[in-house]
Amino acid sequence: MNDTLSKIEKRTAYTLLLPAVFLVFAIVLFPIFANIWISFKEVQLKDIRIPEPRAKKIVKSIPEDKTKLKIVYRLRNSSLIEDINNIKFSDSLPRNIEPVELDSRCEFKSKKIKCDFGNWEAKYRENFEIIIQNINNEVIDKNTIKSQKPKLSGDADNILLTTKFTLKNFKQVFNENEFLDLLLTTFYFTFFGTVGAIIFGMFAAQLVNQKFYGRTFMRSILLFPYVGPVVALAYTWTLLLDPNSGTLNALLVNFGIIDKPINLLGQKYMTLNLLGFDIKLRLALTTVIMFEIWRYFPLAFLFILARLQAVPKDLYEAAEVDGAGPLRKFINITLPQITAILSILFMIRFIWNFNKFEDIFLLTGGASGTRTLPINVYQQGFAVSNIGMGSAVSIVIVMLLIIFMIIYFKLIGKRANEI
C-alpha cells in the first residue's frame, strides 16, 4: 500500500518537473556542452546556415507561339563552402500542359517534372530551361505556372555535425599576447566593481536604517539604477560623459576644475600626479567600473539593509549602557552582524560581475582598454565572425566560473541558505 503511494508520488513529481527540467536542459545546459563541441571546430559565422539547393523560377512568354512558354530555373547551391549531394527537383504543371523536350536528367510523369541533379559543389550555379506547351493548342496562363513553386531537396553536411576537430581555437586564445591583459582587465573590473558596490551599498543601508524624513522615498529611489533598463541608463551615461557636449565635462570646464574636456569613455590611460608620483590610471576602465558600482550598489544595499533590520535592538541598547559611542557600536555590533552577508554578497557579485557583458558593451563596446572576457566572446564570435573562437573563449569563462563556484561552495555554501 505504502509502496504504491510512494510510486504515485514519484510519478507525479516527475510529471510536474518534466516540462521545466526539459526546457532548462535544452536552453541552458545543452549550450554549455555545445560550446565544448564548437570550440574544437573551425566555424565562421557564415558557415552556420545549412547548405540548401535553391531554385528561382522565371516564366517567359514566347512571342511567336502563344501556346508555348519558357520556364527558366536559376539553380544554385546556397553554400559557398559545402557540397550538396543527391539533389532531387520536382515541379508540377497544370492539366493539359506538358514539356516539349526534357533534359536527360529529368522525366515527366503524372503532371510532374522530376529531375535528379546529382551533386552540386559549393557556389554551383546553373540556368535550367524547359519549354512547355498546351496539348490542346490553347493559350497558357502565365500566372498559374508562376504560382507553382518548385521543390528541391538534397543532402549536405552540416558543418556543425561533422567530426573534424582542431585545437586551433584554443591555441589562438592562449597564444594571443593580449590574453593576459584580457584576464587582468576582467579581474580589475570585477574586483573593483564588486568591492565598490558593496561599500556604497553598506553606506546606503546604514543610512536608510536610521529614521529621517523621506526615508521610504529614499529607499525606493535607491533601487532605481538597478530596476531601470540597462540600455537606457548606459546611453544616458554616455551622454552625461560625452567630451564634446556632455554635462559633466561642461560643468568641470565651467568651474575651471579642468582646462579641456576629458574623454572619460574613450581614453585608455590618464596620468595622475599624486604626491610627486605619476600614476597611470586606466581611465575608460575606471569610468566603466563607476557605472557598474552605480548600477549594482542597490543590490548590496537591499541585502545589507535586510540584515541590518534583523539585528536585535537590545544589542545597541546594551552597548549604550556600557558607554559605547556610534563608531564603537558600528565596529563591534553592526560589522560582525553583517560580515556573513558581506562575504556571500562578495562571492555572488564577483561571479556576476565577472560575466557582465551589456554594461561594458553599451558604454565603450570594449574599446579603450575595457575588453573583458565576455566582451571578447562577442567580438570573436560576431565582430570577427569566428564562432569557434568565441566558443573557445566561452569555455575559458565556464572553466573559471566552475573554479569560483567550487571556492564559493567550499567557503560559504552552507551559509548561503541563511540569507
Binding site: A20, I32, Q210, G214, V231, T247, L251
Partner: protein, 397 residues
Amino acid sequence: MRYKPLVIYLFISSIFLTLIGSIWKIMATLQGLKLTEISFNINFLLALLLSLSLVFIGKRINHLIKILVLPLIFTFVYIAINESAPIWYNVGILLISLFFTNRVKNYNLSYLKEDFVSEKIVFDFLSLFAIVFFAFIILFPFYLMFVTSFKLQAALLYNPLDLSIDFTKNISEQFKSYLVIFKTYDFGRYIYTSSIVSIGTVIITLIFAIPAAYAVARLNFFGKTFLSTSILIIYMFPAIVLVIPLYTVFSQLGLRNSIEGLLIVYTATTLPVAIYMLQGYFKSIPKEIEDAGLMDGQNWFGIIIKIIIPLSLPAIASVALYVFMIAWNEFLFSLMFLDNPKSFTLSRAINHLTGDAETPRQYLMAGSVVVTLPILLIFVYFEKYLVSGLTAGSVKG
C-alpha cells in the same frame, strides 16, 4: 574646555554647509544660470563663521530669533562676496542656511562637552550629506534623460549646461521627440513586442515553475537534492556563454527574429530562479491544508489550483514582477537574435537608433524614457512585491 569636539564640529559642519551650497550652485548652473566660480575657500570661511557664532551664542538668545537672524546675515554676506545671481538662487541659499541652523540649534558649548559628541556630530552630518549625495547621484541621470528628450540637439550642443525645460512651447512642439519616435521610428510596434514578450515570459514561466516548485517543495523522489542544488548552479551560468550555441541552433531552426525564440530563451533563463523562489514559499504553507484537500479527493492538479496558488499569491506576484522586469530589461539575447527591425524589442530598438550617428540624441533619450518609465512606475507601485522578489532573486543581475 575640550577643544577637540569643538574643532571637529566646526570643521565638519562648515564643510557640510559649503558642500551643500556647492551642490545648490551646480544645480542652479544646470538650469542655465551663468555661474563660473565655486569659491570653495571663501564660502568655507563664511560657513565657519556661522558655525562658530551659532555655538557661542548657544542658548543666550531666543531660539526663534537665532534661527531667523543668523541665516539672514549669512545670506547677505554670501550675496556680497559671491557673483551676482538671481533672487531665486539666493532664496535657495537662505533656505539651506535656515535648514542648517535649525539642525544645529541645540549645539552649544555645554553640549560639546558630552561623551562621544564628536563621533555623534560626524555621524549626523555624514548621514545628512549622504542623503543629499545619494539622491543627487541617483536621480541626476534620470533627470538628464528626461530633460534631454524635450530639448533640441542644437540647444544641447550650444549650451550643454542648460537643462531647464522651456514650458512656453506648445504641446506638440514640447513632445516633438516622442511624436517622431512613434511616427518615424515605429516605437508603437516595439512597445507592443516588448509587452508581448515580457507578459508572455511571465505567464509561461509561471505555468512551468509552479508545478515544478510544488514537486521540489512537497514530493519525495529520487534525485531531489541533486535537482535543488543544480537549480542554483545552473542559475549562475551567464547568458554570454549560452549565446553562441543558441545563436547557431536558432539560425538553423529559423527561430531568430521571432518572438517565439525570445520567449523560449527568456523562460528557460528565468525558470531556475522562479522555481527556487516559489519552492521556498510553498514549503512554508502548512501541510495539513493539503492533506485536507487530499481527503476531499483532490488530485495534485486540484491541490495546486485550489490550495497552493490561492495561498501563495504574494510570492507568485513577486516572481511575476521579477520575471517581468528581467524580460523587459533584457538586452543581450535581443541583440543577438533580432536583426530585423520588424521584430525588435524596445531595448534592441534603442540600440539600433545609436547605430546611426546622425540620430539626434533627443530621440534616443525619448526612446530611453519610453523604455524606462513603465518599469519604474511598476516598481514604485508594486515596490513591496518587487523588493521581495529582488532579494530572493538578486544573486543574479
